[in-house]
Symmetry: C2
Subunit: 296 residues, 2 copies
């Protein structure tokens, strides 16, 4: 049931051993509509995944289950529990018992202290971020010279529109995506939108350049179907991604954090429409739609 | 800054003393649209509220801030940290320091053990429920004889449509409501949808019948704009409410829990349309829309 991929043990490129646990992302059910008719429907899976770090229970994540190993890596990364991928020896997911077992190379320093504070964030539920995360914002500044062209933004929104997804077949999931310019690198869905962004963070950690250098966020664009709350902005900034695009809106604290760290936050992005909430100087307006030209 | 309401000290009716902390629910900002024009926009507030129980820090909730005292009460209730309202002497919210100070009459038994397990739920973020909550589901069974008429369901959906809201003025918040039949008792919004339901749970706790008996959920309908995930279903069932209505869809685990506890879960409810996911026997189909009659 548990199958490991091969491990690269080159010292400059020490990747953790990961399972590739698969589970169905949707299930069929029968529902009654307003006419009293019974109709078949797909709905998204939601399953508990309890994360153990060196046999110590850390947290239970409720997840769709598409990429559980990346999710666990990204969770440890975004919660700042593990600072380097090289510290992780393996992640073993077994859906039969709903467990993700993380083995570190030398333990996590001060894990008790790091997990003692509990911040229940907006999510759209009560997301859980361990307390130190908020303190880190003060140190974050995104590189100031990065720009996105409006034509690229339109291509990003269009790529999401065309993406095959669990959302299209079953609804009730959030999607996240990572772009380089307007090139789609990864699209992830989850029942929890924070799980989706954590999964992207885990995937980014696993990518390396030719010389073994880690993937950075500075030339990337992060897309989410969810709202731009403080936690979502903090996670984007932590990944080093200076432009965030959302189909939804933004909260006051998301706005304040985005202003502070230099993040260009774009909301209400559908078709060619959008609202740029913060740092509009990062947007190069090379594709202003026609009506504006007419009314100018 | 902190103002207390009067306390009723009648032994059979011991209500906690609550502040009535007020804070603006929206703020104004200026955003740039796709034409490069700067436009004014309202966005919802999002502010941290750190809950202290008998001076011990428990959790930080990110909230809109509409009814923080009810939120804190409902959080303690839904997390099963406090079993009776009579155990709470006061809740004092002070937005100047972002703190809610809860004073109990005799402490919370085993608070360390109760808060040790961490379940990061779907929310739409990573909601946080302390672990024992999931264990409680096995004991929950909602009263089997409760029915809702389809005409009442239509009235519930219509009442929500007509409700003045922060959502209409600023977007990016979730709404919850409690109905008795089709009578709207309370409408609450928050940036976190679990905060909204916790606020309702706190308000219900404060209501009492003429003989001091607590308000029960069995004749109520719970409405939420959010998805029916496992956590939302568990919270509804804990409040004893046998019918839940949502504008959104449902996840697999939400479905399984709703089936198990006897909860009638209705999703995709807009205008006269809906999908009843579980326990359709609770719905009395007294107002089937016209097209079905024509096609029958």
């Amino acid at each position: 049931m548990v199958q490991h991929t091969s491990t690269d043990t080159c010292p400059s490129n020490v990747h953790p051993t990961l399972t590739q646990a698969r589970a169905p992302l949707t299930c069929q059910t029968t529902v009654m509509n307003e006419f009293g008719q019974m109709v078949d429907l797909s709905i998204p899976a939601e399953r508990p995944l309890t994360v153990y770090v060196d046999k110590r229970e850390l947290v239970t994540l409720m997840t769709l289950g598409a990429r559980p190993e990346w999710l666990v890596l990204g969770y440890l990364r975004n919660q700042r529990l593990v600072s380097s991928l090289a510290d992780i020896e393996s992640v073993t997911v077994d859906w039969d018992v709903g467990a993700a077992s993380v083995k570190t190379r030398s333990g996590i320093d001060h894990i008790e202290a790091k997990t003692a504070k509990r911040v229940v964030t907006t999510g759209c539920g009560q997301g859980s971020m361990f307390g130190a995360l908020m303190d880190d914002v003060a140190d974050l500044v995104l590189p100031p010279n990065i720009r996105l062209r409006q034509s690229q933004l339109q291509a990003v929104v269009n790529a999401i529109r065309l993406q095959e997804s669990t959302y299209k077949s079953a609804g009730s999931v959030h999607g996240c995506a990572l772009f380089r310019g307007d090139e789609l690198l990864l699209f992830v869905e989850d029942v929890g939108r924070h799980n989706a962004v954590d999964t992207i963070a885990g995937w980014m950690w696993l990518q390396q350049g030719p010389a073994g250098e880690p993937m950075t966020g500075e030339d990337k664009v992060f897309y989410t179907t969810g709202r731009l709350t403080s936690e979502m902005v903090i996670k984007s900034a932590q990944m080093g991604v200076p432009v965030v695009v959302s189909r939804s809106g933004m909260t006051q604290m998301g706005l304040e954090v985005a202003r502070q760290v230099g993040l260009c936050a774009i909301g209400r992005a559908t078709h060619k429409r959008f609202l740029c909430f913060t740092h509009p100087e990062r947007l190069v307006m090379d594709a202003v739609p026609e009506p504006a030209v007419a009314s100018a």
